[in-house]
Amino acid sequence: MSDSAWANTSRLITGLILYTGLGWLVSRWVGHQALLMAVGAIVGLALSYFLMFRSLEHERLKDEERRQQVQQ
């Protein structure tokens, strides 16, 4: 299995949990509205997707370079 698989899985899970928790803390500070926790979850998900796709595209570029090197 590619070593990026577990790295990306952990990125997704920790990003989601961390930002949901932060959203919950902010909602507690402002006054209990679960909406802020949901907003935190969405932001965390978007950020972790950003990181995951960036790492996957980096991997793809490296694959392309390696393939071109093999061809030459």
């Binding site: 990306n8 679960a34 926790m37 978007a46 997707y49 996957l56 991997e59 793809r60």
Partner: protein
């Protein structure tokens, strides 16, 4: 499938017993709590749907981790099946729709396809028999995840002005038409797209489950001492079985279409349209 209608009318509600046909409505989608706890000031109700969702995720994780954990060069057994699934998504959906630079998005589409398919498939598994995606919250969650993937991706790849400009102001249109065209494009692309993405999946699974439930309840209801009753019951039962087979096809098709449309949206975010 909950026979709550038949049970409340009594388990002896048949054709000539004086009760009308206990047609299933939207109430067969309401489930009782198995457990309920409060965490972080929110109530969490655990129902049959929650348990089925966790079972689906566990089955997918377990199967694909087992299939790919010691990959051999010539695949056999579970790895073969796993690779067939992966190649189906990569060649059939990602490379067709997004092109060669859709490879980073294959794990995402792959996870979505198999999760949606297994959640749909729970509708015909014995003892489960309710598709997890027929509860409106599930397709909404899936469509929301796809939405918060492709919109920031488009902004990141094409810039804010490039992405929204290209989407809301399509080129090649005379200037005054933009007053009419832009609200329509905004509504259609940013609001209606995730809504129909969710509603399509939900409505297909809802309708299929309701149909199977109706014919199953009819098969039970028509069992009575009359010839018409027996014939009707046999016919209803046959139709319920045929509908189950039809549902199996529709479940796969709807999962495929969900993933296909997710790939189309991602492709629209990556490459400028028009």
């Amino acid at each position: 499938m909950s026979l709550s209608n038949v049970v409340t009318s009594g388990l002896d509600c048949h054709l000539n017993s004086g009760c009308g046909f206990p047609a299933p409505g939207a109430e067969i989608f309401l489930f009782d709590d198995i457990a309920k706890f409060t965490i972080l000031n929110t109530d969490v109700h655990v129902t049959k749907i929650t348990v089925l969702l966790f079972i689906s995720v566990a089955v997918i994780l377990g199967f694909f981790i087992y299939a790919f954990h010691k990959p051999k060069l010539v695949p056999r057994g579970a790895q073969n099946v796993g690779e067939m699934g992966y190649v189906f998504i990569r060649d059939g959906i990602a490379r067709e729709i997004i092109g060669k630079d859709g490879d980073p998005y294959v794990p995402y589409l792959f996870s979505f396809f198999f999760l949606v398919w297994l959640c749909n498939f729970m509708g015909i598994v014995p003892f489960a028999q309710v598709p997890v995606t027929s509860i409106f919250a599930m397709p909404v969650a899936f469509a929301l995840i796809v939405y918060i993937t492709w919109v920031p991706l488009g902004v990141y790849k094409q810039g804010f002005r490039g992405f929204f400009g290209g989407m809301l102001f399509p080129p090649g249109v005379p200037k005054p038409m933009y007053v009419l065209l832009t609200p329509l494009e905004f509504l259609s692309n940013l609001i209606v797209r995730p809504a129909t993405h969710a509603i399509r999946l939900f409505a297909n699974m809802f309708a299929g489950h309701l149909l199977i439930a109706t014919f199953s309840i009819a098969a039970f209801y028509l069992l009575s001492a009359s010839v018409i009753g027996i014939l009707g019951s046999a016919a209803s039962f046959t139709v319920a079985i045929a509908l189950t087979a039809f549902e199996a096809l529709i479940q796969f098709l709807q999962a495929y279409i969900f993933t296909l449309l997710a790939a189309v949206y991602i492709s629209g975010a990556l490459h400028a349209e028009h």
